[in-house]
Subunit: 441 residues, 2 copies
């Protein structure tokens, strides 16, 4: 009875939009011209209030599939047993730290648990400042590292975007190492050449009286437009930052946990080991959770007498869910799946590209893929209008996609990593149909 009294009313989309406008964060956007009211998720599918299924190729959070029964069970069982903080001892907390660090190269052995990627990147900044005694921070153009005041300052995507307040004194920005559209294109040595650009950022900080505390770099550039770092980039960049006394941070909030398929962590392909790794989104398959992993040396520098206590971070429910996500990735061989389906998808996109001149570049690793729309293939002129039209047309065919990049012309493909070959075939067929129906360039 009491349950009925407080049942959540079902409201129409119009009513929900009206109430959102009145009572919720007014800056929050809604996906699509005609918003979706999604009520159920399962695997790679989302279902609207009418029971219509949508193939979800956007969600890099519900990483092992929406409502994965193993993850749901782990969360539900632990919620019913105990949910408290880390000032008591608990088996799941220690086990999670052991299981997570077992996937990482040896020096990355100390774990801090948070509630989000933003909290992880914020804590990482405190670690870097404590270790180096410096304040300067170098970031990659168009990067996004979080929504806190400190992380907006480290996110060119935000501070140089609409409503942004520009670059702070302690921040320097290096160009995106984009071998398709950037200053260095199509060159075998693009990686080291972009890496050497760190020197300019270090000089710029020095001129403003700052030494570098940290270089923040996503291991694959997400908001930057699904950019794959060219070979040798991080090796060169890290060497220069370290020579200047700074720490190197790999932000894998968007791309970690086996999405790239050939490795658990995307930084591994670059042949480097960061000093700090930050994690979020996929870590709990949607449960609010994040983590920082660092070396004993950096962790020790943080022991100044001030405690870092995070009320919810590392609670037994989060740890049980985090463990279940690791279990599922391993037991269902999802990294193999990401390699196989990712290769099939990328090959299929390249085959479509060959027949549709509107796609200028197709790039990807595992199930992190981008397709860049251009109006002129030779000039590589961005075509955001076409990208937008394709996203809406695919939505009409019940496939969910999004766009990003400085010109908003890159189709972002980052589905739950249970995405199958059959799902990929459905997507490719529909995309081919959508592109074939569009007027040429």
């Amino acid at each position: 009875m009491t349950d009925t009294r407080h049942a959540v009313p079902e409201r129409s989309r119009e009513e929900l939009l009206r109430l959102r406008r009145a009572h919720l964060n007014p800056t929050l956007s809604v996906a699509y011209r005609e918003p979706l009211k999604i009520v159920r998720g399962e695997g790679v599918w989302l279902y609207d209030a009418q029971g219509q299924g949508y193939l979800d190729m956007v969600n890099n959070v519900c990483h092992v599939g929406h409502c994965h029964p193993r993850v749901v069970r782990a969360g539900a069982e632990q919620m019913a047993r105990l949910n408290t903080n880390t000032r008591y001892l608990h088996d799941a907390l220690v086990e999670y730290a052991l299981r997570l660090t077992a996937t990482l190269p040896a020096p990355l052995s100390v774990v801090f648990l948070t509630n989000s990627g933003t909290e992880a990147n914020d804590l990482a900044l405190r670690l870097a400042r404590a270790h180096t005694g410096a304040r300067g921070t170098i970031v990659v153009d168009h990067a996004y590292h979080g929504h806190s005041p400190s992380m907006v300052e480290l996110s060119p995507y935000k501070f140089n975007g609409r409503g942004g307040e520009g670059q702070a004194d302690h921040v320097a920005v290096v160009p995106m190492p984009d071998a398709y559209r950037g200053a260095v294109r199509d060159a075998a040595d693009a990686g080291p050449r972009y890496g050497r650009m760190l020197a300019g950022a270090i000089d710029e900080l020095r001129a403003r009286g700052h030494r570098p505390a940290a270089f923040y770099c996503e291991s694959l550039l997400g908001c930057g437009g699904q950019v794959i770092l060219p070979d040798g980039y991080l090796r060169q960049a890290f060497a220069q930052v370290r020579a200047a006394g700074g720490l190197c941070l790999s932000d894998e909030v968007q791309v970690g946990f086996g999405r790239v398929g050939d490795a658990m962590w995307a930084f591994e392909q670059q042949g480097v080991v960061p000093d700090i790794l930050t994690l979020g989104k996929p870590i709990g398959n949607g449960h609010p959770m994040g983590a920082v992993v660092t070396t004993p040396e950096v962790a020790t520098s943080f022991v100044t007498g001030m405690e870092y206590f995070n009320t919810f971070g590392g609670n037994p429910v989060s740890c049980a869910i985090g463990l279940a996500v690791l279990d599922v990735i391993e037991e269902e061989n999802l990294m193999d799946n990401a390699v196989r389906v990712g290769e099939f998808l990328t090959a299929g996109l390249r085959e479509i590209q060959a027949r549709h001149p509107g796609i200028g570049d197709v790039r990807g690793r595992g199930l992190f893929i981008g397709a860049e729309f251009v109006s002129d293939a030779a000039a590589r002129s961005p075509d955001p209008a076409r990208a937008r039209v394709v996203v809406e047309a695919m939505k009409a065919r019940h496939v969910l996609l999004s766009t990003d990049g400085p010109d908003d012309n890159v189709l972002k493909i980052k589905p739950p990593i249970v995405f199958s070959r059959a799902n990929a075939e459905e997507f490719l067929e529909k995309l081919d149909g959508v592109l074939g129906a569009l007027p040429v360039g």
Copy 2:
């Protein structure tokens, strides 16, 4: 089978401590000289690995009782149905905003959902800066507002504590309005007199070239030592801040959601309405969740073109859990319980105080209570050693408590608000026994 392969091993306390030291945040403290390994929670009880029950009087997060079945069911059901972000429409998100704002005075009608109190206070700072165009912030001495870089700067508890880097240029600190130990004691007009001290902080900011963006104030001082704001404090303080163009923020991360019993929100007793209210800890009974509630005017100032998107914030699972917490508070009449049991506890503590000179002050509202240990009642000399001994002795009698305050001599009482009269009787009897067994002063 796969479940067995990845079952979490049960480890001894010694082994867990060893592994924590090797693989987890080295700044994280463990409660008690002999740490507890807690494996199960129910209502006001926590159970260790041997099945021993402990009466939990510390946990202000598992607000409606550990593992409340209604809250667990809401979370488990929604986890199995859908967990995605707020770019799709969802009934529970809108319903939560409506239910939450229905408990608040009219102008506080716009909700932003986050994953923690820290994220809420961080977002609030962005709102205040956007609305005022100013950077200055006034905080109360010994306050704690969060663990992010920006919030450590606003937390004298941290920046003036061990390992702290001192006060930032844009921050001014006002004295704790503590009518027992502060500069103004035992005066009927202590509230307005402490309130007038905001003028000094505003002047101090002005002298450093800052206008005030916001005054952050907990509605009851938690880390400050369970201090109840004297009557008239916020009215006077808010008036001065507003006259200087700043916004007034009530931080109810620790004390909100009916803990004070006579009101849902502790600020109400002061006869004011803040411009921004921040929420956390109890909001999800342990689920990682936080919120900012503000006025349409402040929210509108935040519409600058930059989106505030929080990956996990406002997801359907968090909203379902948040709704269940509101339901339980109402249906189980927990605010009435907080009043009745709180009054009984406070009266019982005062009766004990009359027989034990080591307790200098007993103060509280509802189930937010402090008892201050002193070595000399007339001089009010803090006695942290006695507070520590009492906490350990009570733990030996299976009652969990903690201490806080600038001198760490205040016994903090903030149990789940399902705490019953029988629980209170058990606590009072045990405390009386512990104090009677201690050597006098």
